[in-house]
Every structure is written in C-alpha cells, then in structure tokens.
Symmetry: C2
Subunit: 136 residues, 2 copies
C-alpha cells in the first residue's frame, strides 16, 4: 500500500518538511481565499480589472489587486497593459493557470460531494459537546 503521501519522516519532522519541501512553497495558491474565485472568473477568457470586480462583486480593489498580482507572480495569470487612454489592462490565465484550475476543480468536486457529510459531522460533534456524558 502507498503510504508516502506527505512522507514527513524522511524530512526529519514537520518543521523541516515545511522548510525544505519545494512543493509546499507553492500551496499558497490553493489556500488563498480569493485565488480560486478569480481564476474561475478568468476561465471564459481575458478580463479587465473592473470587469472582474463586477463579476466578483464583494472584493475590494485592494484585495482583487493583490490577488491578481500574486497570481501573476506565480505564473498563473498574465497581465497585459494596452497603452491607451484610458488605460486598458487585461488578465488571462496561462497554461499553468489552467492546469491549476484542474486542481481547484478537484477540491471543489470533493467539497461538493462531501459537504453534507462534513456539515452533519459538525452538527453531531457540537451537539455531543453540549450534552452531558451519557452513562454506559
């Protein structure tokens, strides 16, 4: 059986693992609150800044700006400036970005399939915590 998933022991502990493991440095892409949503909004093609703001209603300019800059820095999104007046900037998923969406989709699929299980488990746990200990 395959038991190598995180394989922390070969790194000498979790702390060392976090430091040494290159893939781990990349995980921020998927743990970020907005990255996935922004990438999803780019699936249909290039989008302008305020276009994204409208689609993703609820993000402040700052957060959208930050998210896009991080995605650009990680090579998941390209930023193209057209030197017109007024300025026109388009964001578009790269190949790498599209492949990343695949992972996002896998996460989303699991969440969709099992959300009810998890929510039920949470309710059961919270109710157990409120009740006194049942005698055996």
């Amino acid at each position: 059986m395959d038991t190598t998933f995180p394989d922390i022991r070969s790194f000498g502990g979790a702390a060392a693992f976090l430091r040494a493991c290159k893939p781990r440095t990349v995980l921020g892409i998927f743990t970020n609150k907005w990255s996935g949503l922004v990438m999803g909004a780019l699936l249909d093609g290039p989008r302008r800044f305020n276009e994204l703001r409208r689609i993703l209603d609820g993000l402040t300019q700052k957060v959208l700006s930050q998210t896009l800059r991080n995605l650009e820095r990680d090579g998941l999104v390209t930023r193209t400036v057209y030197p017109t007046i007024p300025p026109r900037v388009e964001y578009e998923l790269t190949e790498l970005g599209h492949s990343g969406v695949g992972v996002l989709r896998a996460i989303g699929d699991w969440a969709g399939e099992h959300a009810d299980d998890v929510i039920a488990a949470r309710q059961a746990y919270d109710e157990r915590a409120r009740e006194p200990v049942k005698p055996v």
Copy 2:
C-alpha cells in the same frame, strides 16, 4: 467546454457565493496549514497523541490538539479514549478522512509537478520588479 467551475455569477457575486455555497464552508480542511500533514501521519493506521507529536516534530501541543479537534469535528478523524492509567487516546482516519487524503494527494501532485515552474515565475517576476531602479 465546461466553464462552470466556480459559477459565481449564478450566486450574485462573490460575497453571496461565499455565504451561500455549502461546499465552500468545507474548504478550511484543505487550507489549514497542518491538517494535511496530520492526516498524512495517520495513513498507516491509528496513532496516539504523543506519537503524532514525534512524527510531526515541530508542532506544539496546542496546535496538534487544535488540528485534531477540527479534524474530528469535521468527521475526518475519530478519537478513541481507552480509560486506562495512564490514559491512552488513539486517532484514526475515517472513510471520509481517507477520501479527503485523495484530494490532498491531488494538490500535492500538482504542486510537485509545477513547483519549479512557479518558483521560476516568481524569480522572473521579482527580477523584473527590480529593473526600473530610479535615482532619488
């Protein structure tokens, strides 16, 4: 082509999406810093608390305790107390937990395959940012 991944528009904006989308409430499992590592440490079978501490060297008791409690609450891990002296507590992945590891593996695989691309993109981006050095 499938373009329905986050499908934010059908929710009326990202803010509403985050509130209404049940799967989204479950994503914390994968965005947590330690959950994946702890679940990985449970792949080989049940583990005791301090056993996990040794495997995951670097976690404090508090963080391990918190992580395990969250995993238990979400139904991914069971906690079994043996009323011996000294106390013996064992943690074990549930079926749901094992299926969650599958997602973690997908994330890890992508990260492993593309970490170098992302790291290279970051370096390129950071170097571009340093170029236009203007004298003060």
